[in-house]
Symmetry: C2
Subunit: 709 residues, 2 copies
């Protein structure tokens, strides 16, 4: 991935003219500061944009005190970026003029395109073609624009600034929804969080969310990315953006709402119909360590904690609390969020017990309210948690004690010192002392009133850290097989053979026309075997006694071969008999289902799940973009809720997870190599034997586009 991503990263900088312009034209500029065409000018004048600001208005000599230009052609030069705030029908000619003038970036406020009707959609396609023709990067149409307060550039008509302009900070907001993007900005502002770069993409005729995230991933203005998406329309830049952000250690917290528009896309195959909703997007986000926020509040909690830029690759949580009850609550929350809380070393526990006899020093470390009567103990406990516990993250719960007249100042002083002595840790404070929050933050603390919210934010830092650490390891190359798909949809036998060649083993079986061949086949496969009559005219073999189980030696094979032929002649005298199928007898297997389908945005996506009801009723499945290695395949398998069934639950032997992971990875490589003609693959059931005995596909269907049904 590293090799391909570099040029993509360079591509992201092509948004510089859009986000960091030195000259700005406003087409449709208004003298009224409150009108859509007036707001960008008013904001930039108020904030002191240092570049050139050129209003274009054919009916006025000046706009808001600035020299106005009658037309694009009349502009003194090509602006770095042009803001287009004209009626829909004038947008395309305006864009064309701008292109001819040499402008290479535009922000289109105007609505009346794809969001409206089919005619609008057609207009938007024309618009995008004009932009592409001129090599213009275009934000919108129907977008609220963007702002980058680091250079005081305000290419937006949002009304969000009545409460104030952005404060300093390193949070960037990338949003498909203008209203929601500025909502997050405004909520951040209320919390004292600086988000000086906000980019909203609107209809995404040209610049899409991935471009914006990618730009932020390489821009020094932004260290933490908040993204809001309703649907991902484009994969190449999106994937490259996530990859770049990960490599540059910039965390992304994303809110992805609604049913993906992909959900409804032709549910051609079984696997695709299971995918539904936004499972594929979810799988992609997980792959790159993007944390999905469930609420705006959670998004900002995580972004806030991330401003400390401490992302533990292996997160552990130490908890220091004055309340045993809160300690239990925090432990519950940590378990839920998947953050480990290893116990303190025994020796340290003993020492703390000698300091406060009734303390509970395991972890959570409950120092009890005793310490409020003997304040220097606070340092002792905090230091021990940091030094002896060695936790990557430390959550300190003081409730209203922190606000106390007597305890408060001493607590703050001691905690400041201990924190300063271990600056590499993520120090989080949970307290009920609203008027102390700014002071603690000044000391370097992350502060949350609610301990559960604190735990969620801490967990997210660990997810980021683990993803960043993975990015630093050279990715295992997944070798792609050579795949030659047949012309038409292959039969089951051909499908199995194709997959087996690629490393997805099928149940070993041989069609044999005489009993000698049957014995040879059985010896090759290994006993016991199953014998089945082979005839295109006998569909229900077992009804005529056409299946023999537990055939354990050569004599039995010979005997069985004769028996089956006799039964067939007797019960179905007219049937064409081709011989006997000799197959490995599989016993005690766990039935899994593997699959692949082509996502319209992200390409081939592989799936694994437990067979039958697990998939269809419980949706207990895991998805990943193809290809991926066996280690990743095993992570997918282990993430299944039903994984215990493979891991020795109910007294079963452990299943051969390694073989299953190998087959799943091989399937993903096959799908990646097969090219766009591959529509879907279903391997169901995939029979997984006990450890060391492998796994075998008992059925396989490969569907091709245009393969017909």
């Amino acid at each position: 991935m590293t090799a391909e991503a570099a040029p993509a990263a360079a591509g992201f900088a092509s948004l510089d003219a859009l986000v960091r312009p030195r000259s700005v034209a406003v087409i449709g500029a208004s003298d009224e500061p409150a009108r859509i065409g007036g707001r960008p000018i008013a904001y930039m004048k108020e904030r002191g944009f240092a570049g050139d600001l050129w209003p274009v208005n054919p009916r006025r000599a000046t706009v808001q005190g600035l020299t106005a230009y009658a037309s694009v052609e009349a502009l003194p030069a090509a602006p770095d970026v042009a803001i287009i705030a004209v009626p829909a029908e004038q947008v395309i000619p305006t864009l064309d003029s701008l292109g001819r003038k040499g402008c290479r970036a535009v922000i289109v406020f105007s609505a009346g395109f794809a969001e409206m009707d089919a005619a609008g959609e057609a207009q938007q396609e024309k618009l995008a073609a004009v932009a592409r023709g001129h090599g213009i990067r275009m934000l919108g149409p129907n977008c609220l624009g963007l702002f980058n307060d680091s250079i005081r550039f305000y290419g937006t008509f949002t009304a969000s600034f009545e409460k104030g302009f952005p404060i300093a900070g390193r949070i960037g907001i990338a949003s498909q929804s203008g209203a929601y993007g500025t909502h997050v900005f405004s909520a951040a502002l209320d919390r004292g969080l600086g988000a000086p770069v906000v980019i909203t993409t609107g209809n995404e005729a040209e610049v899409a969310l991935g471009d914006v995230i990618g730009w932020m991933a390489q821009a020094p203005e932004v260290e933490v990315i908040c993204a809001y998406a309703e649907g991902i329309r484009e994969s190449t830049q999106f994937i490259a953006a996530l990859d770049l952000a990960r490599r540059n250690r910039k965390p992304i917290v994303m809110m992805k709402v609604g049913r993906s528009q992909l959900g409804g896309a032709a549910a051609k195959s079984h696997t695709a119909s299971i995918a539904g909703d936004d499972t594929v997007t979810q799988a992609v986000l997980e792959e790159f360590g993007v944390v999905r926020a469930r609420t705006t509040e959670e998004m900002l909690d995580i972004a806030y904690a991330a401003t400390k830029r401490i992302y533990p690759a292996r997160n552990t949580l130490g908890v220091l609390t004055v309340s045993g009850g809160a300690g239990v609550l925090i432990s519950d929350a940590a378990e839920q969020a998947g953050v480990a809380m290893p116990p303190m070393p025994e020796a340290a526990q003993e020492r703390l017990r000698s300091l406060v006899p009734f303390c509970a020093p395991r972890n959570p470390v409950d120092c009890t309210a005793q310490v409020t009567n003997n304040l220097p103990l606070i340092s002792e406990f905090a230091e021990s948690v940091a030094r002896d516990g060695g936790y990557a993250s430390i959550l300190s719960f003081w409730s209203q004690t922190a606000a106390g007249r007597s305890v408060g100042p001493s607590l703050q002083e001691q905690m400041r010192k201990v924190r300063a002595a271990f600056p590499d840790r993520l120090w989080v404070m949970s307290m009920l002392a609203p008027n102390k929050v700014r002071e603690y933050e000044g000391d370097g603390w992350v502060c949350f009133e609610d301990p559960s919210r604190a735990v969620n934010a801490i967990a997210a830092m660990g997810v980021f850290g683990a993803a960043f650490a993975r990015a630093e390891q050279p990715a295992a190359e997944v070798p792609l097989p050579r795949v030659a798909l047949p012309e038409a949809t292959p039969s089951e036998a051909v499908a199995k053979a194709l997959l087996a060649e690629a490393g997805v083993p099928a149940v070993p079986e041989h069609a044999c026309s005489d009993s000698e061949a049957a014995v040879m086949a059985a010896e090759k496969i290994g006993y016991p075997v199953v014998l089945k009559i082979l005839s295109p005219d006998i569909l229900h073999k077992s009804e005529i006694g056409g299946v023999l189980l537990d055939v354990t030696n050569a004599d039995a094979v010979k005997h069985g071969f004769a028996t089956l032929l006799e039964r067939a002649r007797h019960h179905a005298p007219a049937a064409r008999i081709e011989g006997v199928l000799v197959a490995k007898q599989i016993k005690g297997a766990v039935e899994m289902a593997l699959g692949v389908f082509r996502d319209p945005v992200f390409g081939p996506v592989a799936m694994v799940g437990l067979g039958g009801i697990f998939i269809e009723v419980l949706k207990d499945v895991s998805f990943r973009r193809c290809p991926f290695d066996a280690a990743e395949a095993e992570r997918m398998i282990r993430s299944l809720k039903g994984f215990p069934l493979l891991d020795g639950a109910r007294g079963r032997p452990k299943a051969d997870v390694a073989a299953l992971a190998g087959a799943l990875s091989a399937l993903s490589a096959f799908a990646a190599a097969a090219g766009p003609r591959l529509a879907s693959i279903d391997v169901n059931p995939m029979l997984v034997l006990p450890e060391g005995q492998g796994c075998y596909a008992a059925d396989a269907v490969i569907e091709l586009d245009g393969g017909g049904h």
Copy 2:
């Protein structure tokens, strides 16, 4: 339940002396306002407690300016309540003196009891016995006490008041943890929520959480109950308290943390081992419509919304938004929280579309930012949502628009009027206008910055409303059967017979010693039947061909009878043959598991789940206290994640859910009637046939206490 609950309610008022005393003695009173024995006096002096306040201190004439008494005996009268703040070893003699003086309520601050060690536990038992001997209601020991600001009574040594004393309000906090209870109080205070009654129960030697909740359920001081529990130790008062609160329409929001101490209790039976953790407590809370909060923040969100006392019995949510993105986000949150968002009537949608052409009026009703250019439209939209939509709850999302200089005042004015015109609705505002919150609250709004938190709170009001509505319906009496348990653990056959008599049908089968009897049995059962050889010496019947399926008429029964006897003689000549078992042949059944176990706190609890892996791996089960009616049983069944398997998933016929619900309810009645000797029942598998065809237990185990294994 109604009949029994009345006396329990009277019982709760016996805490009046504890929570609403007219005279208070403080044993171990200190002249130092900051010391544990000094704080209650200092607080009551500062707040102006109107009753008598009697410090007891043998070494001083006055305490904090009040006349001190040398001993309990020297008190001018028996105090309504005595606060005991003396060293552990003096607690019992002090309590005894108080009892002899005529005191009937005490609060024991002193620690050094069950929280310490076995000796402390023994001391605590003695203490409880002394209290009971004198008829004293005792809070603690090892508790932080309680306060009731409505009468300025402060029987607590909490240090929480440095930030301020309680403000007016109707929230009561009942907590097993003192530190956590006051944390919630203090967090509420920071949010402007009044919680003037806080009661913490400490070691619960006598008064337990249920008593406290029960007192709040009947006390006018409290309208909304916030409870915090680590484990429920006592069921009678707890259940009566939940029932009373529900009947008095007082919502309870509870935080229950940690693994219940019951989880570890002897996992004697299969069913009990599945229960684990706190599933039983959870089932009890659900039964009474108690909402479980996951975080302190959520607890206070719900308590805050509940202060409006609008609890829709059938909750529906209408959403009015200026942001389409937020609308999608809110819809996602509502689906997750289980709140229905039915669409607006078509005619209303059309009218709104005629007002704002590009609005999305379905629900969420997205009025778009257009309305900010034509402010009177706000009323039109809000009124339509309330009147035409008829929603019980209305969430209005305005983001930072509400703070705008131009839009803000008009928005507030219009929304105030519309809200006032529909005062029976739950009106919730989501906006980013911190300085406007108090004004909106004054207008009657519930305000949340985060729309997801708003949705969760709205959902909780519906849960309360539905529970309150259920309480108003006369509970269906579940008739209890007469159950005569055998002396020893019964055999499978006896267990099945006992259960069948109680209404839990078993697979019909008859042991027949001759072929005439077999034919009669088959005719009675109905064809097809299964024939099985009956012999105590033949364990694996099918291995000797001892099972015949699909026996469809009398001749076949006769013939089969002879065949089985002949095979038995041939393959197992020494075996004792008792005849043939004729059983109904069950085909196409869904396998369920039913069970009962005796919870040490809540008594017999019934369980239902889908068979096999569903239960053991996925824990997809539902629990309920016994007995319950068939309607409740059906609710349990329908709450299973795997319910689609019974409801026609994967092309199956629908299963006979009504029969299953009947059997489950009958099982619960059997368990309730069986008395404490019943340890557990496992009915597994319970075979559920297609609709109209019933369900049949294929196996049943009844375990008795002392019944041996």
